[in-house]
């Protein structure tokens, strides 16, 4: 089992779409997190930023951009990019500084401001870049991949479009009381199924939007925490694993899987291995979870995640959903925050937002979203180009 670090404070800027600077959102989240922690900015010894690729150079050096905006204080700094996993990587970087004894208290932050519509490649011809070519040769957008996975569930497990709509309905109920959510509206199955088809079988209301937003954490050693907060939420694991060769699923933005000609496909899928590494590090199993926040890039993908994090067997996710097990009040609530269904995605902040939700839940501060007696939670997410992301929190 890994050593633990404490989460002293969490803060978020609400998700939405205003087109303001990502640093502005991040600073708000940082100030809230510092206040929540009872820690002054000048006490922070390490700033760990999640990068954004959409905001030019300041986004590539996000850690320093946030540090400068808060006011240079001489703290050490690092910036991390791992696509949607950036927040988890930034968290792990700070965690390692603390566990290695180089830092008592750190600030972890990610924020983004994003363009309208499909996430598109940056302008300019790049015929050697597979991520450019998948648009040029196939018109394969991100929803194309989500839809292939969704259709696979229908063909192999008998999932229906109603099942996918139900995930959105559940999450929309969860997000209704969440002050940080962008979309706070309860949908019916009929409304979801009436929304325009984007990439069959996925409809507009089943595919997450892209959003502005920011989230921040104040992380500390257990020793530092003892002087500031009794019984803090603890980070018990962070998984940032890469896949094992050969892959079995065509991953965004690739044209093909690896070939299993000479090496058989591993027993676990990549996403499954991401959660497995976190469980191993924390010394727990899926049966120990009270809640989970998973990456519902599409409604159907949430169902894949139930199986990948091991809260049900492969092929049984629809049953878990339909039995009400994954709603707040059910046996193993998933996405009590409302998930990406209610937030949309702010790439470098999203993994941190998942951690914020878990923290509020474990502290009993989740208000109307509260899961009774929550003590152990898991986040799960996956960044493009092989970045695992899973965090386990305990109280």
């Amino acid at each position: 089992m890994a050593s633990e670090v404490a989460i002293l404070g969490v803060g978020m800027h609400p998700w939405g779409k205003w087109g303001r600077k990502f640093v502005e959102y991040g600073v708000k989240a940082c100030r809230d997190a510092l206040q929540d922690a009872g820690v002054e900015w000048k006490e922070i010894q390490f700033v760990s930023g999640g990068e954004t690729m959409r905001c030019g150079y300041p986004g590539y050096v996000a850690g320093a951009s946030f540090a400068q905006a808060l006011g240079w204080n001489g703290a050490r700094v690092a910036s991390s990019y791992s696509a949607c996993a950036s927040g988890a990587t930034a968290l792990n970087t700070a965690r390692m500084q603390i566990l290695a004894g180089f830092c008592d208290v750190a600030l972890v932050v990610g924020g983004d401001t994003t363009p309208k519509g499909f996430l598109a490649p940056q302008a300019g011809d790049r015929p050697d870049d597979p991520d450019w070519l998948r648009f040029r040769l196939m018109g394969a957008t991100n929803p194309t991949y989500f839809a292939l996975y969704a259709r696979r569930r229908m063909e192999i497990f008998g999932a229906t479009e109603r099942d996918f709509a139900k995930v959105k309905v559940k999450n929309s109920r969860h997000g209704l009381p969440n002050p940080n959510a962008r979309y706070r509206k309860e949908y019916s199955e009929e409304e979801v199924l009436a929304s325009p088809m984007v990439a069959d079988p996925l409809r507009l209301l089943e595919i997450c939007a892209t959003s502005d937003g920011a989230a921040a954490l104040v992380l500390s050693s257990m020793e530092f925490a003892r002087k500031r907060r009794s019984d803090p939420v603890r980070v018990a694991a962070v998984s940032t694993v890469t896949p094992r060769f050969p892959s079995s699923v065509v991953e965004l933005p690739d044209f093909a899987t690896d070939s299993a000609y000479s090496v058989p496909v591993p027993d676990n899928t990549f996403r499954g291995s991401v959660a497995a590494a976190a469980y191993q590090e924390a010394g727990i199993g899926p049966e120990d979870l009270d809640l989970a926040e998973v990456y519902d890039l599409s409604s159907a993908m949430e169902l894949d995640w139930y199986e990948d994090i091991g809260i049900c067997k492969r092929g049984e996710a629809e049953k878990l959903l339909n039995d009400g097990d994954t709603a707040v009040g059910g046996r193993i609530p998933v996405n009590p925050s409302g998930g990406l269904a209610c937030f949309g995605e702010a790439v470098p902040a999203q993994a941190l937002a998942q951690v914020c939700e878990l923290t509020w839940q474990l502290r009993g501060q989740a208000g109307e979203r509260q899961i009774q007696g929550a003590k152990v939670g898991l986040t799960a997410n996956q960044g493009l180009f092989g970045h695992g992301s899973s965090v386990i929190l305990k109280k």
């Binding site: 597979p130 040029r136 196939m138 292939l148 259709r151 000479s262």
Partner: protein, 145 residues
């Protein structure tokens, strides 16, 4: 009216000659693993230190692993026809190579025509054109029974 020159939309990814085109991958000479798109530097099998590859035409018949469609045109660099007509995209399992490869389905294929496990074959179709040329790309077509 003179016929436009037909060129591949990307060089070296598929054959243009003959009636039965192939995707062109590469194969590690040490461990035999296939790669598509081609790998030419280091074998990506972690147990293999191979650095030599041979060009490998891939199987041109496979089975549908999954499928979807685009109801809206993708952003550039996709060259969207005007008017835009929704088209299907497939993930196809190649048995010999033990890999799944993506590609558009041929024009006119509806999602309702498709089922996982269905056999499809590789063909070439126009991706887009300009004043001088037609740019060709591989697509999958349901195999006639």
């Amino acid at each position: 009216m003179s016929e436009k020159e037909r060129v591949p939309a990307v060089e070296g990814w598929f054959t243009m000659e003959g009636e039965k085109p192939h995707l062109l991958g590469s194969r590690c000479k040490s461990c035999g693993t296939y790669f598509f798109p081609k790998e030419s530097f280091f074998c990506k099998n972690p147990d293999c230190a191979g650095t030599e590859f041979e060009e490998a035409p891939l199987s041109r018949v496979g089975k549908l692993w999954s499928f979807t469609n685009n109801c809206y045109p993708a952003p550039p660099p996709f060259v969207a026809p005007d008017p835009f007509v929704p088209y299907a995209i497939a993930a196809v399992e190649l048995a010999e190579e033990r890999m799944v490869v993506l590609g558009q389905m041929v024009a006119g294929t509806e999602v309702s025509d498709l089922r996982a496990g269905m056999k499809v074959e590789l063909v070439l179709e126009k991706l887009y054109e300009d004043d001088a040329r037609e740019y060709m790309v591989w697509k999958w077509k349901p195999l006639a029974a």
